[in-house]
């Protein structure tokens, strides 16, 4: 199989631009879903009435439906009811809607892993509630959650591959166009795979390293 390198060089700018779009979407998606997830997990942890049920319903809905359908619903469905959103906005909302529940689960498992003795000891040496959360609960919870938060980040970055379906010009969309217009199938697919490897491989290695680092916080558990 001989790759047409000239074609690859020519299409490089297109891929760079698309990769940038993917990264941007991934960044916003991860950021917003972390915030959603954090708030949700706090509400679940403190068992706030009513809100807790709402959040549980949200989590089940978002975990048990595919992102593609969520995006189609947002992009094609809601426009018909007069809520017009741009493709990028839809993509970010969709990713955050999906990611929020995954992040919530990650944070929640961390919070629940903090043992009761830790909280009781904290109270008995006279820490206030804010101090308790800030210095005792959150650091320990965070170190437990890091592996699953990391896995979620990679998951979300990969899920961005779907937004091409609602006309966001991302890596998938560029590839599909190049295949359709120039029939340079191998070159386009080669670039696609390389782009994803360049984005996700370092992230995956970084997370493995980070995971090992934060394990120290679990010492004595």
């Amino acid at each position: 199989m001989n790759l047409n390198w000239q074609f690859i060089i020519d299409s490089l700018p297109l891929y760079l631009k698309a990769a940038w779009t993917t990264l941007k979407l991934g960044f916003w998606g991860i950021l917003i879903s972390s915030i959603i997830g954090f708030v949700c997990s706090i509400v679940l942890y403190f068992k706030v009435k009513v809100l807790k049920t709402v959040i549980q319903v949200y989590i089940e809905l978002s975990r048990n439906t595919p992102l593609l359908i969520q995006l189609f619903f947002l992009y094609f469905g809601l426009t018909k009811l007069g809520v017009a959103l741009s493709e990028t906005a839809c993509a970010i909302i969709g990713l955050s809607f999906l990611g929020g529940s995954y992040m919530a689960e990650a944070f929640r498992s961390g919070l629940e892993a903090v043992s009761k003795t830790q909280i009781e000891s904290g109270l008995s040496i006279g820490l206030s509630k804010t101090q308790l959360v800030r210095y005792v609960v959150l650091p320990q919870a965070f170190s437990v959650s890091v592996p699953s938060i990391g896995a979620n980040c990679i998951f979300l970055l990969k899920e961005t591959s779907i937004v091409g379906a609602i006309a966001v010009v991302d890596l998938m969309n560029v590839t599909k166009d190049l295949i359709g217009i120039y029939y340079q199938t191998f070159e386009a697919l080669f670039m696609l795979v390389v782009s994803y490897l360049i984005m996700i491989l370092p992230l995956s290695l970084l997370l493995t390293w980070l995971e090992r680092k934060v394990r120290y916080a679990e010492f004595g558990n």
Binding site: T65, F72, F76, S204
Partner: protein, 203 residues
């Protein structure tokens, strides 16, 4: 229903291959372990949609064969399912106490009998919640096949929208809402079941 067929076939074959892969994975050879690991990471790092594209556009052109979108989806989902299932089986087998294997060997069990009567039955409990979760993930991911031209439930929805565009302008809201609920109805009981099993067997 094409969606159900794709999901069903790939879950069955994926699990069978995954069990074989998981048993191979526990081998002591470093090379075999790294090969399995590489295989899994390839599916973890590269999005499934990209794999569908590679199979659908790349492999068919390279080998000069003609595969339907449905065949391509089944192949990709099976390979992916096998990779993830292999990891689950490996985790379950490795979590079993070592003396189980040693006692089995001491009693003179052959390799097959050891797995058949001692290891697999114990591992099944530990891998069931994980594999049900994997099944829901695979069902959800089948929604992607519409993007390589398979007539699945989403495509049928799009056709209904096209047809009723004039009479019911808000059709896409209802149709996509319906597909959304449909996936939820299939996946929710499964994820519920996996959580119940997990709680029951952990506690």
């Amino acid at each position: 229903m094409v969606t159900v067929r794709i999901a069903f076939i790939s879950i069955i074959f994926g699990s069978l291959l995954g069990i074989v892969l998981g048993v191979i994975w526990t081998s002591k050879s470093k090379w075999i372990r790294s090969a399995c690991r590489l295989y899994l990471e390839l599916f973890r790092i590269i999005p499934i949609l990209v794999w569908l594209f590679i199979m659908y556009f790349g492999v068919t052109t390279a080998l000069n064969i003609d595969l339907s979108g449905e065949t391509v989806s089944v192949i990709v989902f099976t390979l992916w399912g096998a990779a993830e299932m292999g990891d689950i089986v490996r985790g379950a087998l490795e979590s079993l106490p070592k003396h189980q294997i040693e006692s089995g060997k001491a009693l003179g069990f052959s390799f097959w009998d050891l797995y058949r009567y001692i290891l697999i039955p114990q591992a099944v409990r530990r891998m069931l919640p994980g594999s049900i979760n994997l099944a829901t993930r695979m069902i959800k991911t089948t929604s992607l096949v519409v993007l390589i031209g398979v007539i699945d439930v989403t495509k049928v929805g799009q056709q209904i929208i096209e047809l009723s565009r004039l009479e019911v302008p808000t059709a896409s809201f209802w149709v996509y809402g319906f597909v959304f609920i449909l996936y939820f109805i299939i996946c929710y009981p499964l994820s519920r079941l996996s959580r119940v099993l997990e709680n029951k067997w952990n506690g």
